[in-house]
């Protein structure tokens, strides 16, 4: 691991000022905020990330879950994944989020990982993690080893000729279906970013994974008021039953009245280069009967435009079945 200076800022303003000196807030940043460390330290040991300065945000007052006046919930940046998953309000009103978090990683990692850190979780693409191999995300312009290499775990939606890396988060998929908002404080002030706009597609700049600029500190995430009567579910399919990343997953928030779907929010994990909200699947479902045929049509719509690679073609059908099964199970709950 490269040497670095470890700093603990007294407040958010100092943390922002320290990080604002970094050339970028994206891959290869000189200054990194450190929360749980479960992604960052792993990548620093691999020399994939080599920050000169680590700014410890763990003792900033960003660790609370609070009700907000509009009836929603504000989740602090440093709230641990386990605390978020077990919060009684989250379990009751945002079940899909609790389920998604508990489907990810291990109990130890969930005790460490933070809300903001999970939003910034990096891909598990083996070429990104191996500095001996070309990777456009790690070293722009060197090429994508995965397109002609081992790509069984990688994305089929939102890919480009430059990068097909999967976003590995479970939490973000549920937050996409819940239409969360990411709140950021930076050198130029505060801003609120809908989660759908927070992550970027790889395009020609796979090293840019989100809209953060140097000094931008995620302070909290807000969830809109719970949808009364909604049925929620997170379904994750993977190679082993626990402690494994998704091959395909689905987060669904469904409202059914008199046998018809009146509202649907759908997001997929394990198949996209970002947490994959599917407006096509949602509009295919609203107004339709809550039955297997409609759910399959919605799943087909969600995967329309999927671009399989040499080893991951199975993900297209797997993701469809995952979503159809999630919708069926949620509707019957």
């Amino acid at each position: 691991m490269h040497t670095f200076k470890f700093v603990r800022p007294p407040d958010s303003a100092a943390a922002i000022a320290m990080a604002a000196r970094s050339k970028t807030a994206q891959q290869g940043a000189d200054v990194r905020f450190i929360g749980g460390g479960t992604t960052l330290l792993d990548l620093m040991k691999l020399n994939v990330e080599t920050p000169a300065q680590l700014v410890d945000v763990n003792r900033l007052p960003l660790g609370r879950i609070e009700a907000v006046p509009d009836g929603g919930l504000a989740i602090g940046a440093t709230v641990r994944n386990s605390d978020l998953a077990h919060d009684p309000r989250v379990r009751r009103d945002y079940t899909v989020l609790s389920q998604a978090i508990l489907a990810g990683a291990s109990a130890q990692i969930r005790n460490m990982a933070t809300t903001a850190g999970n939003l910034l979780q990096r891909t598990r693409c083996v070429y990104f993690r191996d500095t001996a191999m070309p990777c456009n995300k790690r070293e722009p312009g060197t090429g994508c080893s995965a397109i002609t290499g081992s790509n069984r775990m990688l994305a089929v939606l939102g890919t480009s000729d430059q990068c097909i890396a999967t976003n590995p988060s479970d939490m973000c998929v549920a937050m996409a279906a819940l239409e969360a908002t990411v709140h950021v404080q930076g050198p130029k002030g505060k801003r609120a970013i809908p989660i759908g706009d927070f992550h970027l597609l790889p395009g020609n700049t796979p090293q840019r994974e989100n809209v953060l600029e140097p000094g931008d500190l995620i302070t909290h995430v807000t969830l809109p008021p719970p949808v009364a009567g909604s049925k929620q579910l997170y379904l994750k399919l993977r190679d082993r039953a626990s402690y494994e990343f998704a091959l395909a997953s689905a987060a669904v928030v469904l409202t059914v009245a008199a046998g018809k779907v009146t509202r649907a929010r759908i997001a997929l994990g394990g198949v996209g280069t970002k947490p994959w909200r599917s407006p096509d699947a949602e509009s295919a479902l609203v107004g339709q009967s809550a039955d297997a045929a409609s759910f399959r049509k919605a799943a087909d719509a969600a995967m329309r435009g999927a671009k399989p690679q040499s080893e991951n073609g199975f993900k297209v059908e797997l993701a469809k079945r995952c979503l159809a099964h999630a919708l069926q199970t949620a509707a019957a709950s």
Partner: protein, 206 residues
């Protein structure tokens, strides 16, 4: 190494042998990396208070305060093993994939390999050495013995720390729930069913 020089009849154990050879070799490598040109390489076992960039940190480990100076890169795991010489906590993958390094920080189980020692200034750390003693085992240690919940033992301290933390976490009554919450601790020997049995024994008697 007084225990090694007590007489020709006393053979070195695997542990004392590794301590004598391994730690000096490791210290030499570390010294070579951190020593700048012209700096004297400290002898093995000698404190190195003037490592460039070293920072002070106080950890409360198993109820006892340790005021240390560490290179900021030091993981909590390496700090426990190399600086404080508590080698019960094991290094498996060093990348958060195996759970062998599991310890408790402020009563919650975490992976000490994916955490920096300096992040835990003033915090309470519990390692397997703080769980029980040979004369007075923690109930979970006794249950692991009774249920034969290990073979080679390398993952055992991590399994124990996870299992003890699990007792205070939301966990359903059945074996499947225990398996799910223990999935972050890999056992290469495959002692899983006995580990689950040991944990369930402690939960039933609690």
């Amino acid at each position: 190494m007084s225990e090694d020089s007590s007489g020709p009849t006393k053979k070195p154990t695997r542990r004392t042998f590794l301590r004598a050879t391994g730690s000096s070799a490791a210290a030499a490598i570390v010294a070579a990396r951190v020593a700048s040109p012209g700096r004297k390489t400290p002898s093995p076992g000698v404190d190195r208070p003037n490592i460039p960039g070293a920072v002070p940190v106080t950890l409360r480990i198993n109820g006892k305060d340790h005021s240390l100076r560490v290179d900021p890169r030091t993981s909590l795991l390496d700090c426990l093993r190399e600086t404080v010489a508590l080698t019960g906590t094991k290094k498996g993958c060093d990348h958060g994939q195996c759970g062998a390094c599991t310890v408790h920080v402020n009563g919650r189980r975490v992976l000490s390999c994916l955490s920096l020692a300096v992040m835990h200034d003033g915090e309470d750390i519990t390692t397997v050495e703080g769980l029980g003693t040979p004369d007075s085992l923690h109930p979970m240690q006794a249950a692991f013995l009774a249920r034969d919940a290990y073979q080679c033992g390398y993952c055992t301290s991590g399994q124990l720390m996870s299992a003890v933390a699990l007792l205070k976490e939301p966990c359903g009554p059945d074996d499947a729930a225990v398996k799910e919450l223990m999935s972050g601790n890999i056992c290469r020997c495959g002692a899983y069913s006995n580990i689950v049995a040991a944990i369930q024994q402690v939960r039933k008697n609690a």
